[in-house]
Symmetry: C2
């Protein structure tokens, strides 16, 4: 699939020797300084690049430079200086100010960033700019098995998103990065609220291993030289792009073999529903059962009952695929039907927890011995 950035954007990439092989520096460039918005990890151990980019949220920017193979997180003041140096080098290449260059990083935590390599890679990336997203989409990967790209259009405006994650491999802690560019002609306010909504319904609704990273970042840039959809149309289209990228991440999750949709209906509000779904997705016991295709639904109830201490079992139903395993507080005994449903590569785990008119869905995957093995070594 040859996907091109919307009008006003180009990208480049380089192999700078940060990873042991392959492209590891990517650069997304706007023809002129443009409006942008972003969402970033809330982790207190956030990377130096996250701190830097978050500080640019009130500026227009010309470029985002991203390196894979090193998270530049928990690297102290040296890490902060490294980000400034990288932004400065890109600014020199593009003829703009360092404060117009956002920075993202992904890879192992706590390893000093090889600044000279990143700067050199960034200069090479600038010299290779084109409208094709493919090299950029490769350069941001770590343990991902394939690039993640989504594109759509709405009322003459184009939206293109590229992402990496959330697969993990020692020594790196997974990081999830997404870069979305559009030519939609929209106010900064609409851009910001659309991204917050889209992220809350996509990237915030996946969980591979309940481990939040230090580097999660989503960037949305607009050149403004395309159509002018109304705010709700744009938000819907953007949400679809984000959902598509988020689902790709779960399908590519390390060691995972199944895509499981944890659905929670009837929670008193949506936030409560999300918390319950996250609780189920965080249960290593349930995720081990997902791996083996074992309908051990008691682990779902134990997880729900941990998150909501006031859960009323007589109001609870649980189904695996089309097999109801627990209804109105009692087991149905349909274990064989549930086990058959769990043979599929993709299925739903539906939990009704009350009568309120809410519904949320969270994507997760199974926990495999391979996941443990892959994450058990590699740092020293």
């Amino acid at each position: 699939m040859a996907v091109r950035w919307p009008r006003g954007f180009s990208s480049g990439a380089a192999a700078a020797g940060i990873k042991s092989e392959g492209l590891d520096v990517g650069m997304l460039v706007a023809d002129r300084a443009v409006s942008w918005t972003g969402t970033f990890t809330k982790n207190a151990a956030a990377a130096a690049s996250v701190h830097w980019s978050r500080g640019l949220l009130d500026n227009e920017i010309r470029a985002v430079v991203v390196n894979s193979g090193n998270a530049n997180a928990c690297t102290g003041t040296a890490g902060e200086r490294a980000v400034e140096e990288v932004a400065g080098a890109v600014a020199t290449s593009l003829g703009c100010r360092a404060q117009e260059v956002a920075v993202a990083s992904t890879g192992p935590i706590g390893v000093p960033l090889p600044v000279a390599r990143v700067c050199s890679g960034a200069r090479h990336a600038v010299s290779s700019l084109s409208a094709d997203v493919s090299a950029f989409s490769q350069a941001i990967l770590t343990t991902d098995s394939r690039p993640k790209i989504a594109a759509t259009q709405v009322r003459g405006a184009h939206i293109v998103g590229v992402a990496k994650g959330a697969a993990m491999l020692a020594p790196s802690m997974a990081t999830m990065l997404a870069f979305i560019a559009t030519d939609a002609s929209l106010s900064g306010e609409v851009l910001g609220s659309s991204l917050r909504t889209a992220v809350s319904r996509s990237f915030d609704r996946i969980s591979v291993d309940a481990c939040e990273s230090t580097n999660d970042s989503v960037f949305l840039l607009t050149s403004g030289c395309g159509g002018a959809p109304d705010a709700s149309e744009f938000e819907s289209a953007l949400t679809e792009i984000c959902r598509s990228l988020a689902e790709e991440m779960v399908r590519d999750a390390e060691g995972g073999s199944r895509l499981v949709r944890i659905q929670v209906a009837g929670a008193s509000d949506e936030g409560r529903g999300v918390a319950l779904a996250k609780g189920v997705a965080a249960s290593v016991l349930w995720r081990a059962a997902l791996h083996g295709g074992d309908p051990n639904w008691g682990r779902v109830l134990a997880a729900l009952g941990t998150i909501d201490r006031d859960l009323e079992l007589p109001c609870v139903d649980v189904s695996i695929g089309d097999a109801a395993v627990f209804r109105s507080g009692s087991p149905t005994g349909s274990l064989e039907a549930a086990a058959a449903e769990m043979q599929a590569d993709e299925f739903n785990v539906f939990c009704r927890v009350g009568q309120a008119d809410t519904f949320v869905e969270l994507l997760t995957t199974d926990l495999s011995p391979d996941y443990v093995r892959l994450n058990a070594t590699g740092t020293s």
Copy 2:
């Protein structure tokens, strides 16, 4: 080790066919109705036996009957009737009221309790009562590899504790049970406050897989026919018994090969320190690294930064054993020394997160491919 119950107590056991083999019904009996206290899971999906026993907290009791091989959790109204029937059968055997018989269960969730077998086992157990704890300590085990017993005395009062858990095997979700008997002559108030303190510093400070069970219960009974230690002496002795049993559980954790002490110093209060330690112990990435002996300390910081969004990295130190890996916000680079520390069967992970005068320790173990395999099948 031939351990005997304190004066006033005896126990028995039977093989009733609830598990595929071995003793599976245990009975702890007091010579007369005695004061007791207990702590129970907060899980909203708590077992029928937990509801029953919690309802007896204001009564004196004669006995606790426990079955392994079935949790009687999420079993609907049939499960509630089953508990009443079991308590009634024991009461008939002992010549007391059903409300003087506490009940505990451990095993798979959501499977109807085979009431007739439990009642028959309970009658056999009554006919085999003796002061020796050993048969009882065997009867309560599920996937544990060995019994867990601790005994001490303080000022002429004896305390004996027996526990099972928290190892796990499909189809059962782990449950942690502990039965402690003493002959100390103490008020019910002292008994209650001592147990709350002891549990908060022992069983509440272990985490094998961050999955809370539907059946966790700790019972403390006193015959009152021994010495009269003062409250603080008793509390200290009881805490040691609980800590010893809790540590045995982690050492026997399924698939685990290491005992790891997560230590958090300097948190603003002890509760905050416990939350941070639990966050580190819940990170499947860090626990996978523990399994491989990989000093991937960035995963510790990522977990701390998720729990405390205001964590200030310049105030944070992390050590693995004697190897400092992160000091005052920057990596030390001592990965080889840390990897060497992680070769031990038992080591500390020390995290300083601030300057307050608090220190907490939580015991956990590594996450192994075996744990995943053992919990991936078995229900259907």
